[in-house]
């Protein structure tokens, strides 16, 4: 019993280490990128796309490197199902509704669906090998290019509008602190290293505690990945999606989830597959991946049916879908 409590404690602590380290790592990497002259648009898009997904990526890579590949795949697929059915479900129920624009939804949703289908396609051939990895990473580069293009267009339009209207708004002073010249400072480099080391150590501890807990409780590592680690590593997505939905930043809310799902598969599975074959469990192919694609389609149907928003009823449907999936996966199909 004591061992279980210690392992659960270790799991929670390692999760916090992973999430905070990912934040420190991305944050300081962006600082260095800015100082090196990389465009703020590219940095912003990449940072927001990677920022919330680094815990899934880190745990998938560390799980693969430490021989628990199924745990890594489980974390990625489980996170993707939880992101849509769980996180968007909870956010829609709490916030009342999450609106989205048709352009952004179509682009991000099509990419998420396409990504799921790419994964399913390669899963049909058995293990996911380096050839699949190359396709996946190339597909992610294409997606990043699309995002950067869209952001550039958005920034250009914003710039033109701001020139037209004369703003005479009384603002709080801290707003004016931006746009100072930046240079690479040693602190940023040190924090990138600290963040990276924290990420590696945190992920290693998390995978260790996950594997040990699974073995003590007598449950398959895949289930541990699909649920415990998947939900744990998705905490950044949960806080971002929920708080942005409550603040009325609807595009950020759905965009975070769809962007994260695309990253999780293309990079979370693609990068480990570059170095070693990622084995595919039969149930992943016949049940988990199809459920992931199903909830992606269900989200689109619910949003389109409710006039481009996910309302409270839609949120409840998504949450119910997740509960049914979890029940079947844990108690019926194991």
């Amino acid at each position: 019993m004591l061992e279980i409590i210690a392992l659960v404690g270790l799991l929670i602590i390692s999760l916090i280490i992973v999430i905070k380290s990912a934040d420190v790592f991305v944050d300081n990497l962006v600082e260095i990128g800015g100082a090196l002259g990389i465009s703020q648009i590219i940095l912003g898009v990449t940072a927001s796309a990677i920022g919330t997904s680094l815990p899934e990526f880190g745990s998938a890579v560390i799980a693969s490197l430490s021989g628990s590949t199924e745990l890594g795949v489980g974390t990625v697929i489980g996170s993707n199902i939880w992101n849509i059915a769980g996180i968007l479900g909870i956010s829609a129920v709490v916030a009342g509704s999450i609106r989205t624009g048709s352009e952004g939804l179509t682009r991000d949703w099509l990419m998420t669906l396409g990504t799921g289908l790419i994964l399913l396609f390669f899963m049909l051939f058995g293990d996911i090998t380096w050839t699949a990895a190359v396709v996946m990473i190339a597909a992610y580069c294409f997606y990043l290019w699309l995002l950067i293009k869209a952001q550039k267009k958005h920034s250009d339009e914003d710039g033109q509008e701001k020139e037209k209207e004369s703003q005479n708004i009384d603002e709080t002073p801290e707003k004016l602190e931006k746009n100072s010249e930046k240079t690479i400072n040693k602190k940023s480099i040190a924090f990138v290293i600290v963040g990276f080391v924290g990420l590696v150590i945190g992920c290693r501890l998390m995978v260790y505690s996950g594997v040990e807990l699974a073995s003590i409780a007598g449950i398959p590592a895949m289930i541990m990945g699909l649920f415990t680690l998947a939900i744990g590593t998705s905490i950044p997505e949960l806080v971002v999606t929920l708080s942005s939905a409550m603040k009325g930043l609807h595009d950020l809310s759905i965009g975070t989830v769809l962007g994260s799902n695309t990253f999780n598969i293309l990079i979370g599975i693609g990068v480990p597959a570059l170095f070693m074959s990622v084995p595919v469990e039969r149930l992943s192919l016949t049940f988990d991946a199809p459920v992931m694609i199903f909830v992606t389609i269900l989200l689109f149907v619910l949003v389109r049916k409710s006039n481009m928003k996910l309302n409270r009823v839609g949120g409840i449907i998504l949450l119910a879908t997740y509960i049914v999936y979890a029940f079947l996966r844990i108690f019926v199909l194991t």
Partner: protein, 140 residues
């Protein structure tokens, strides 16, 4: 009767709020429209995402204040935009106190479920406002 009015908005039900505010004005008045950029985020929110959220909310606030100003483009009305960061209820009360306004106009009308899940800014303001408050019953 009301010479200085503080108007609060988060971008919803602007037409109803403008209409009721205009009904309060007899002759000349100063209307201060406040938009609060809520800066609080939950623990474990990535720093860059928090910055992005604040930028988005600031841009949204500017658009909302601009839209509101069009509704008060009338003779005798001196319209002023105010954007602050912080907790909405606290900042509304603070602005009302600092500006010494005669009345605060704000929307209300969340469902019971929404009130429990999201909280109600108007309820918090009612308890500590330094002046009269007009709560405009909105579409919900």
């Amino acid at each position: 009767m009301y010479d200085k009015i503080l108007l609060t908005t988060m971008g919803e039900y602007m037409d109803e709020i403008i209409e009721h505010t205009l009904n309060l004005i007899q002759g000349e008045a100063e209307v201060i429209c406040i938009y609060i950029v809520e800066t609080s985020v939950p623990f474990l929110t990535p720093k860059k995402v928090k910055e992005m959220m604040i930028d988005e909310l600031t841009a949204k606030g500017k658009d909302i204040l601009e839209d509101m100003s069009k509704g008060f483009d009338k003779p005798g009305i001196n319209f002023r935009k105010l954007m602050v960061k912080g907790n909405p209820a606290d900042e509304i009360v603070k602005a009302a106190t600092d500006e010494e306004v005669d009345v605060i106009v704000m929307g209300t009308g969340k469902s019971i479920v929404d009130k429990h899940l999201l909280g109600s800014v108007s309820e918090k303001v009612v308890h500590s406002a330094p002046c009269t408050i007009l709560l405009v019953r909105t579409a919900n």
